[in-house]
Amino acid sequence: MDALLLQILNGLDKGSAYALIALGLTLIFGTLGVVNFAHGALFMIGAFCAVTFSKILNISKITLDPEKTNFLGKPLEIKTPYVIEWFGESTGAALIDWAVPLSILFAIPVMLLVGYVMERGLIKHFYKRPHADQILVTFGLAIVVGELVKTSFGANPIPTPAPELFRGSFDFGVLIGMEANAVIYPFWRLVYFGFSAVVISSIFAFLQFTTFGMVVRAGMADRETVGLLGIDIDKRFTFMFGVAAAVAGLAGVMYTPINSPNYNMGMDFLVLSFVVVVVGGMGSLPGAVLAGFMLGILESFASMNEVKSFFEMLYLPSIDQIVIYLVAIIVLLVRPRGLMGREGVMED
Amino acid sequence: MGILEVQNVNKSFGGLKALQNVNLSIEEGTIHAIIGPNGAGKSTLLNCFVGKLIPDTGTVMFDGHSLLGRKPHEINQIGVSRVFQTPEIFADLTVLENVLIPCFAKRDGAFTLNALTRVSGETDVQEKAEQMLIDVSMQDKKDMIASSLSRGDKRRLEMAMCLSQDPKLLLLDEPTAGMARADTNNTIELLAEIQDRRHITMAVIEHDMHVVFSLAQKISVLAQGTVIVEDLPENIKGHPKVQEAYLGVAAS
């Protein structure tokens, strides 16, 4: 029971990352009709916003320590971050410690700008082109962005820890009346889950309850008609592209303490997020979220030893290697348009 | 016995009864028009003929075969062709290729792995297709990409594609919808000419009364999912039931 609960928590956590990325991807599909292979890159850019921000906070004044020497026998350089110089030891250290959450403030404008530039500068020219061309150009963009990040930050993962306050874990089991140590869960992962819940519900609320959102939804359903009503739908779609980029970016920012970011993380998530979107059904936002959480939870279950040995008895060893794809196949065979897909979206 | 016999067909979508006890008989060699106000069930009925929809109850017999449960391509194989409201053609292919495809389908059936012969070497099919284009006077446009044709030419091409299969029954779903007057008249002429020369049975769904009364030899009036009148054109004009059905609609 406690093992199941643990894996449900894990699944929700993985699912939140999948859902956030898939949500942005579906927004772009739905509003602009563009297959965006650079969406994983947006996630990665978000993560590197956090890295950059913490690097900025760590810009240091260098003084030489005449007593100590470095490995070459030269005087040792002592680095004091300017924020500590300026704000004092405690405030400065706290700022550095809170780099990841603080970088959200940094990432939102950056991601909106990235989204805007990407849509106006490139994607716009590909609305009427075949999906294959869109794939090629966005994939090219993803490679370029990845390589630029690699050139500036290297290929090795960069540790970006959560604030001291959220490091480590707490006993979730005790909270719900189980025995001690039964369900231990890391703080930050809970923060991540909570954060994504807030982002997802804000997006839905925005689309559901604001006039802007309603127009966008109407545009997703029937772009031409809304255009005929004299509404400049293009501007709104550009904005939605920015929003989708920001959602992916924020998912990336908050993900950095869970896994140290590297330049290739976008590609790792790219294929998976496409599977999530398609299993959810093309053009359906709730579908994307639902599929994200469903695949996250199933993936977690599949890694349980009991589940693995059960499938091994059925001559399906290493079920955790293939679970996502197997589920995708089954869902698509049972439900032709995924969980909640609309008819006619990307079916030809 | 008509070539197409529809008996007691019912079809509902959720609570909405789209067709109720529809009976219809289309005589071989005639042009039969199905008219009715918007929402009368004309398109639903047509879709039941071609395998796109399956009626809840009732039978649709064509030339001795039941059409129910057959897929569109199977229904075509037994001699039913269809013209769509907006022409469904192979937009990326040339006009000639558009006509070649039905000719091959007629000759080779639903699937043939004919991968190593040359299209241009299949002289029988080529000749047939070219002749068809001459028949609809499009031979000078045979190398154009179909998407670049005018709307009237697209309709003409679609008919040529259907006719090249020598169908026993040609279904036309609002063949003149959205056409300019001149194009409409051309289409009427074309259909009349085809009828004259080939004696193909046609079922026409049409809004435009000018088209209906220029062509039809018999007319069925559909209202609220049932056939209210089936008669010769001259008897349909001024028929009280028809007036009743169209009142309000006709007024606007």
């Binding site: 490679i143 299993v279 995708a328 030809d348 | 699937f111 299209v119």
Partner: protein
């Protein structure tokens, strides 16, 4: 040969001449010159051009004609390779049985996957094929290691049975051959400052490329090919024309799967190792990119696209700073360093960056891929009188600004 039109015969002849003269054409720079780095006329890369050309031609029969975008085609390449290596291990170092088995197994495998995946269309089909290929990759890398040798890839061993071959007493692995003709044999022609390499394996691959290309022309021009193109443009009309699209798409899928199997078999025949990575989604993606880059639905485009990507992968990745310095050695030091500094982002470990940029540039400015570029150049040369009767389908689309 009445089977091809004059134009197609000319095209086939052109490809044949190019393939025959590739060792010269791909080696334009003298061996000792600084530009020799750009030479691609060595056996391994020429073999790869031919093999990936076959792969892309096959993929184009599916994607270019029917519009069904398979994102899992690398699985068939991998299956073909594994089958071929197993034949080389068990039966004989002669590549013929290996190639036959790889085509058959890839055909069967694609029949199975195609049968299931083709129940859906559009992106749903793409994801189904992707899922199957990723499952194949994951399993080949891990649990199927007894069959695939996982991480390392399936290799030959000294103590493999090879029941048809004479016992090997040399203490070295036998080499692949075609009835005694060794694939690795290379004849080097030193002509002045140039050295041209003629490799048996390459010419075997080139022969298969020509065969594959020839078959692809036949398919393109056949009624079957016409039906496939019809599927791409309007399935509704096709169905109302009495044709069942499923067997057509499945046949195209299996044919292109067999092409991929042949390519995989040839890869294993040239270099007897089958790695699991050739089934990964990135490998499938590469096939898609090759085809789009070259020109989807054109006969020659996919071959060009394949050559383009393989050229960058193998040539640009090998240009390092030392090579750059040697190119600009005629410049004064500061300028030399500046040039090297700028260029080093695009070569060596930066070759991905160049590739990504070129993808973007080509698709933005040449909507029809490399073939469109080729046609534009040809039209320029002909001074506008070209154009031809059948403008490419792409020409009707709005070009990017």
């Amino acid at each position: 040969m009445n089977s091809l039109s004059k134009k197609d015969k000319a095209l086939l002849l052109f490809v044949a001449v190019m393939a025959l003269l590739a060792p010269f054409l791909l080696n334009p720079f003298p061996t000792d010159s600084a530009m020799a780095q750009f030479n691609a006329g060595y056996p391994d890369l020429m073999q790869r051009f031919a093999i990936f050309g076959i792969l892309a031609i096959g993929f184009n029969i599916l994607f270019g004609l029917t519009g069904y975008l398979s994102f899992g085609h690398a699985a068939f390449l991998g299956v073909g390779s594994y089958s071929a290596v197993w034949m080389l291990k068990l039966l004989s170092m002669n590549i013929i049985p290996a190639l036959i088995l790889s085509v058959i197994i890839a055909g069967l495998f694609s029949l199975l996957i195609g049968f299931i995946s083709l129940r859906r269309s559009g992106i749903y089909f793409s994801i189904l094929t992707l899922a199957f290929a990723q499952m194949s990759f994951s399993l080949a890398y891990s649990v199927l290691t007894p069959i695939t040798n996982g991480e390392t890839g399936l290799q030959l061993n000294l103590n493999d049975p090879r029941i048809l071959d004479a016992t090997n007493t040399t203490g070295n692995l036998p080499v692949t051959g075609l009835f005694g003709l060794e694939m690795r044999n290379t004849f080097t022609l030193d002509l002045g400052a140039w050295a041209f390499q003629f490799n048996v394996g390459y010419y075997v691959c080139a022969a298969f490329l020509l065969l594959a290309f020839y078959l692809s022309i036949r398919i393109f021009r056949s009624p079957f090919g016409l039906m496939l193109r019809a599927i791409k443009t309007n399935q509704t009309r096709l169905n109302y024309t009495g044709l069942n699209s499923r067997p057509y798409t499945l046949a195209a899928f299996v044919i292109s799967g067999m092409y991929a199997g042949l390519a995989g078999g040839l890869m294993a025949s040239m270099d007897p190792l089958a790695g699991a990575e050739r089934m990964q989604w990135t490998a499938s993606g590469e096939i898609v990119l090759m085809t789009i880059l070259g020109g989807t639905g054109t006969l020659l485009g996919p071959v060009l696209g394949a050559g383009f990507i393989k050229y960058f992968e193998n040539i640009f990745s090998k240009i390092n700073e030392t090579v750059l310095h040697s190119w600009f050695s005629f410049m004064p030091d500061g300028l030399n360093d500046a040039f090297v500094w700028v260029l080093h982002f695009f070569v060596g470990k930066g070759w991905h960056l160049t590739l990504g940029l070129l993808f973007m540039l080509i698709v933005t400015f040449l909507p029809g891929g490399l073939m469109e570029g080729w046609e534009r150049i040809r039209d320029k040369i002909r001074g506008g009188k070209g154009g031809g009767k059948n403008p490419p389908a792409e020409a009707t689309k709005t070009p990017a600004e």
